[in-house]
């Protein structure tokens, strides 16, 4: 096993990986940018290296600086987390070239799966079903529009190098196709440095269901069941669960086999995820393979009892996978909510600022994966996800109740978060019934901004008590002079400018 591992990431995932390393007796090295110098992941690490400029390309995306840091501190391996360099084949190759173990699959596999077209071709050859579409070389707008007409509308435009919803567009009709192609290409160019796109048929009632894979370097590949990630906003997951309410034992077996076949066809090693779209008739199609640890991996851990990060470390150090497919089982149900610094009432725009107070909910089977704390500043440089909240229970209904309780006790003051929004999604009748699709937020919460209510009486009373307990000296004088008979005293709330 490794003696020292560098974690090339920040936030909650850096913290989560470091804890696994430390439990296993491995020394941990953090890297950080200027704005993260007092971030939790830096405090947790045994050593840390300053990468300087907070711009991602100068810090967490800078291959040269990170490799140099690993060499300077003598780290034998690098864990990339997710995002940043996790799915960058050049980084995996650079590690290999320097004799550093990259904790993940080989550069060749990352490159193959990162090219969505090559990945689909590989899957078709392996007998894994894929969605009809255009994955060709011709990338001029006219050719793409022509192919779009052949596939039919609505259709999806997706970045070949994409992920996380970036460079992705849903196009309802032919008229909007040219602009969607141009904008997807521009977004993809800026996010991934590649403006190649492909087109795909748009499925009715689509659900996003993925399978967790573990594969060692000795030819063993297993799956650790599914995760349903259909609840998404802006094509990014916000609530994930396992088991999926759609799943039947027969479908799970078929999809699990397809996922293992997909991983084997790619020559996959380490932890990965095979993502499928499943339509209303339970037909499933390969979407893509994520060649890294997923954000939502904790719900698999909560229901299988298996620590995925520890297995990543063991597999990367050459150990054989001891887990056998027929010995694995899931118990109960787990849910994850992603806590974002964003405003759901304003198009989910990221909010930035300083966290004045953070208080996490605690209780049986409640897990907090977080990389922030009180007084930490949320900068515009990085993804606005603050933390993940994971709960598990015997049944789905119990998990939903527990999650709503936990969210109601989750205090984040200073930046706007999606917590109230998450609660309402979980409490929606159709969510309780398990009738979810990737359109759920759009279908039921599109006009959520209209539900902003007035300040509740409890808040008014609490503020009055707080202000009476913490008066400022000049206020006491001023308010003593205030006219107790003023008509304002007998008014309820009123609107400014009205």
């Amino acid at each position: 096993m490794f003696k020292k591992v560098l974690i090339a990431n920040r936030g909650e995932i850096a913290v989560r990986v470091m804890k696994a390393c430390q439990e296993m007796g491995i020394r941990t090295v953090a890297v950080y940018s200027e704005v993260d110098k007092s971030a939790p992941h830096v405090h947790l690490a045994d050593e840390s290296v300053n990468l300087g400029d907070p711009t991602p390309s100068e810090s967490y995306l800078n291959i040269k600086k990170i490799i140099e840091a690993a060499q300077t501190v003598g780290a034998e391996a690098i864990h990339p987390g997710y995002g940043f360099l996790a799915e960058n084949p050049d980084f995996a190759q650079a590690c290999a070239d320097c004799g550093i173990t990259f904790i993940g699959p080989s550069a060749r596999v990352i490159k193959l799966m990162g090219d969505k077209i090559a990945a689909k071709t590989t899957m078709m050859k392996a007998g894994v079903p894929v969605i009809p579409g255009y994955h060709g070389e011709r990338q001029d707008v006219d050719s793409l529009v022509k192919e779009g007409k052949r596939i039919g509308f609505p259709l999806m435009v997706k970045a070949t190098a994409g992920g996380g919803g970036k460079g992705m567009r849903i196009v309802p009709n032919e008229d909007e196709l040219p602009q969607a192609i141009e904008s997807a290409k521009r977004e993809s160019k800026s996010a991934f440095g590649n403006d190649s796109v492909f087109l795909e048929q748009y499925l009715a009632k689509p659900r996003h269901i993925e399978f967790q894979i573990l594969a060692d370097e000795h030819g063993h590949t297993i799956h650790l069941f599914e995760r349903e990630c259909s609840i998404q906003r802006r094509h990014q997951k916000i609530i994930e669960e396992t088991p999926s309410p759609l799943m039947t034992p027969a479908l799970r077996q078929t999809m699990g086999k397809a996922a293992v076949a997909a991983a084997q066809a790619a020559g996959y090693t380490n932890a990965g995820t095979v993502e499928f779209m499943v339509d209303g008739d339970r037909h499933f199609y390969f979407m893509e393979m994520n060649t890294r640890l997923q954000v939502e991996h904790p719900i698999t851990e909560a229901t299988t009892g298996i620590d995925l990060v520890k297995w990543q470390l063991r597999i990367a150090s050459g150990m054989e996978l001891r887990l056998k497919q027929n010995q694995l089982s899931q118990r109960g149900h787990a849910l994850e909510c992603r806590i974002y610094a964003e405003d759901p009432a304003n198009g989910f725009l990221p909010s930035i600022g300083t966290l004045k107070k953070v208080q996490l909910p605690h209780g049986p089977n409640i897990r907090n994966d977080t990389g922030v704390e009180s007084e930490f500043t949320i900068s515009p440089y990085y993804d606005p996800m603050l933390a993940k909240l994971i709960v598990s229970s015997e049944t789905r209904e119990e998990s939903i109740e527990k999650m709503i309780w936990a969210l109601s006790h989750y205090v984040v003051l200073g930046v706007t978060t999606n917590i109230p929004f998450l609660k309402q999604v979980l409490d929606h009748e159709q969510f309780h019934r398990g009738n979810i699709t990737t359109h759920f937020i759009n279908d039921y919460f599109k006009d959520w901004l209209a539900t902003k209510r007035s300040l509740p009486l409890d808040a008014i009373l609490a503020l009055a008590v707080y202000d009476a307990l913490h008066p400022q000296r000049e206020e006491v004088v001023r308010y003593k002079e205030a006219d107790p008979h003023s008509p304002w005293r007998h008014t309820g709330r009123w609107r400014m400018g009205a």
Binding site: K166, S183, R186, E187, S190, A191, N346, G347, L349, P350, I352, K356, K357, Q359, P380, P384, L407, S408, H409, Y410, V411, L413, G414, T416, T417, I419, P420, K423, K452, S454, L455, L457, D458, A459, I460, L461, A462, L463, A464, V465, Y466, D467, A468, L469, H470, P471, E475, V476, Y479, A482, P484, W488, R489, H490, T491, G492, R493, W494, M496, G497
Partner: protein
């Protein structure tokens, strides 16, 4: 703090462009709060800095409050309200001009679709701003003519900054 045993405060809270006038008196360990022609008698404990437990009759209200320079955050039952206090000097907030063309986000301008003098139809894309690897479109809030464009491509823009100015087409 309870100077002479009694503190009376007259406070105007502002939330979402509404004013909530409140008076609070603190005497003999009780808070007497008047709001909207009702008086509430409340006892309270500060469990930890900012964490309050209020008792109103047999009802318990729990909340967490934290302060920033000009406003307070109140956390109650999973919801957060950002509230400020205002003086009743008759000052009103500046009226929002029709057609908000302020940037909703801090980011980089990746594309500008119009130049001064261009005619635009309500909903047309004027500018594309990228932040946190996502794109935000600035659309024309009305039909009219572009008067000024305040930025050029690749410029940095801060939240709230005016992107462009339009002159409304007279009906």
């Amino acid at each position: 703090m309870a100077d002479g045993g009694v503190t009376r405060m007259f406070i105007n809270y502002e939330y979402d462009a509404h004013i909530y006038p409140v008076t609070v008196e603190y005497r003999m360990d009780r808070f007497y709060i008047s709001y909207d022609n009702n008086e509430y008698t409340v006892s309270a404990v500060e469990l930890s800095p900012g964490a309050l437990k209020l008792m109103l009759g047999d009802r318990v209200i729990k909340c967490v409050i934290s302060e920033r320079q000009d406003s307070k955050y109140v956390f109650i039952d999973g919801e957060v309200f950002q509230v400020s206090r205002i003086e009743l000097s008759g000052k009103k907030k500046a009226e929002k001009k029709e057609g908000d063309l302020n940037s909703p986000i801090s980011g980089t301008i990746v594309s500008i679709k119009v130049k001064p003098g261009d005619s635009v139809v309500k909903g047309d894309v004027l500018m594309v701003i990228e932040a946190m690897k996502m794109e935000y479109l600035i659309r024309a809030p009305m039909t009219g003519t572009v008067e000024k464009v305040h930025f050029k491509e690749k410029d940095q823009i801060e939240i709230g900054q005016l992107t462009a100015e339009l002159r409304k087409k007279e009906a």
